[in-house]
Symmetry: C2
Subunit: 79 residues, 2 copies
């Protein structure tokens, strides 16, 4: 049993309104020097098999369900 971490980010150039509003809210609370804020979606999933099998299954999950290849990149690692 392995736990894989699937990290799904927006591609460069895709608008991230949640990140932008989070930045505004942080600045309104007095945080200074806040640069870009990016939001990332992460799934931690328990799967069977070796580490290699787990990673390739995670990539398959992204292609079939979890990620939108038009606007998102994904990365699968074993935790």
């Amino acid at each position: 049993m392995a736990v894989i971490e699937i990290r799904i980010e927006l591609k460069k150039g895709v608008a991230d309104p949640e990140g932008r509003n989070t930045k505004k809210a942080l600045e309104a609370l007095g945080f200074e020097g806040v640069g870009e804020v990016k939001t990332v979606k992460v799934y931690d999933i328990e799967v069977e098999g070796t580490h290699e099998e787990a990673v390739s299954e995670g990539e398959e999950m992204c292609r079939k369900l979890l990620a939108n290849p038009v606007i998102q990149n994904f990365k699968v690692t074993v935790r």
Copy 2:
């Protein structure tokens, strides 16, 4: 300039309906041996200062805005 990763997870015992439904959808697509699926919220934030200052500022952001201490744990690391 450092980029911190703020990882916000649900505490143990808190229901994660999105994770549960993701597990069901993966199984419906034919993925076998899928165990627990946890959803995690991640923010990547550019901040100023040393690594230590960046981490402590990130923790402050969680306490003041990003995390709900009743149901969520957070962890701040420098990327």
